[in-house]
Symmetry: C2
Subunit: 283 residues, 2 copies
């Protein structure tokens, strides 16, 4: 018997189900009782489901349906956000993806409200948008480093909820995944980047400085989960010490989200039989 | 002995090598003596090379190198441009791609010169840009349907050459691939779209009307090959009746193009030993 999800990922990993992030186990595999090998097999088969569903979404987008899906990825440095984009995003047709990474805001972005750059990067109809970091940065490093006054960042949770509920009303299905690594695992991953010349480019000395604020980040994440985890825009907490599990979990969440749209192939907007005749009569 | 390329793809498929497009055989596999099975195996292994090279390009782009690669795809309707994006683009990390499809110009685009929308879509440093159709549309349907006076489209070949040579000077390596299907194969592919409800969304009644202009399109392509096939921005003509070969050929051209950049992993822009000590001293 193949092992797999004994609790649906969307239940087992929901932020409201997993308890405080400070005591969350990044080695665990909530809801899943398989191992790395069975996880890889399942990823391949669910990846095919995901690719099929993505094509359906794209086909509908091309046919006037304005729905889209937005996957928000957050997590500490080295948590594996880029790996998710590569290995889960890589399962589908790249034409169906709209990928955007959010770094430190540019001077131009800083002259606008914090959602300005987010709006500009929203996925078009029929696409799966992936945000590698997002508007949540504005209540994470911005909060931890006091980049704006507390009175300002405190208001942002409501602003974000309002923004996301407008997106949902407009046809975007949102899922938010926070990848959680342990502080020791982060240290090991940073050490690997320093040991391998082919990984130097991923290393940023600032990442070590951020480690000193680990607990403040966990508090900031906890507030995010308590204030912005809505049924219409849920947060999932993904243990990410085991990369294979993080990829499997995000793939499963994305696949079930797309399946939940219950899409069919678009109807023909032309007369099929008449077109068959025209084609047959063509040279 | 494994079969494969007996002439490098970049030689065998170069527009200047293949002769007039009107007598080109879309069933052929120039330079390659393997079959579909050996082609699939080769695609998998060259795909891994491509993925490795793409990561190198991306790493360099993230480290201050401004180079990029631009793959221009052209071809008649149903020639398989979208399949190339999916099956060749899908071989690499989607974060490293910058994909843009060019349809009928929007009213806003029509208020600018024909390269305006092209400039806006150029790949950022470190990316592989893929154009599904391109500025060459402005000397294809625009020419065939007299959408601008002849005196205007005639000037565009020089303008395009100038534009592309500026791109190359700026660090973008350009390869241009034209997928060529036979008129009969196009008919069969359109028929399939009309036979399968999961393909209706790809069907456009206008595609049948375009078939009446087949020879005019071939002439327009021939002029493109004669006027804009430069060593610095070469055109390749890809027989596309066999999808497996078209994918293998474009993958091979892209892989050898990236290999030709002779990229190395970026040097560390920090003191590796000092960072190792800082990390070791961190909690």
């Amino acid at each position: 018997m193949s092992k797999g999800w004994f609790t649906p990922a969307a239940e087992a990993l929901r932020a409201s189900a997993v308890g405080p992030v400070a005591s969350f186990d990044p080695e665990s595999t909530p809801g899943f009782d398989g191992d790395k090998e069975s996880g890889s097999e399942l990823l391949a088969s669910r990846g095919q489901d995901l690719a099929d569903l993505q094509e359906l979404l794209y086909a509908n987008g091309r046919s006037g349906d304005h729905r889209s899906v937005l996957l928000v990825l957050q997590g500490m440095d080295t948590a594996g956000k880029g790996g998710i984009v590569r290995h889960v995003g890589g399962l589908v047709d790249p034409q169906g993806l709209s990928i955007k990474g959010f770094g430190k805001p540019t001077p131009e972005e800083l002259q606008h409200d914090f959602l300005w750059r987010i709006h500009k990067a929203l996925p078009p109809a029929g696409r799966i948008g992936i945000f590698d970091r997002s508007h949540y940065e504005d209540v994470l490093p911005v909060r931890v480093h006091n980049l704006v006054p507390k009175a300002e960042w405190e208001k942002r949770y409501d602003i974000i909820n309002q923004f996301e509920s407008e997106l949902v009303a407009g046809g975007t299905t949102i899922i938010k995944c926070c990848l959680v690594v342990s502080k020791d695992e982060q240290k090991a991953r940073l050490a690997e980047r320093l040991d391998r010349p082919d990984k130097y480019w991923k290393y940023n000395p600032g990442d070590i400085d951020e480690r000193a604020h680990w607990d403040a980040y966990l508090e900031a994440y906890q507030d995010i989960f308590e204030l912005t985890d809505k049924d219409s825009a849920p947060w999932f907490v993904i243990p990410a010490n085991r990369k294979w599990f993080a990829r499997l979990a995000v793939c499963e969440l994305l696949t079930t989200t797309l399946a939940g749209l219950e899409l069919d192939w678009p109807e023909a907007d032309f007369d099929v039989e008449a077109e068959k005749k025209r084609l047959a009569a063509s040279d």
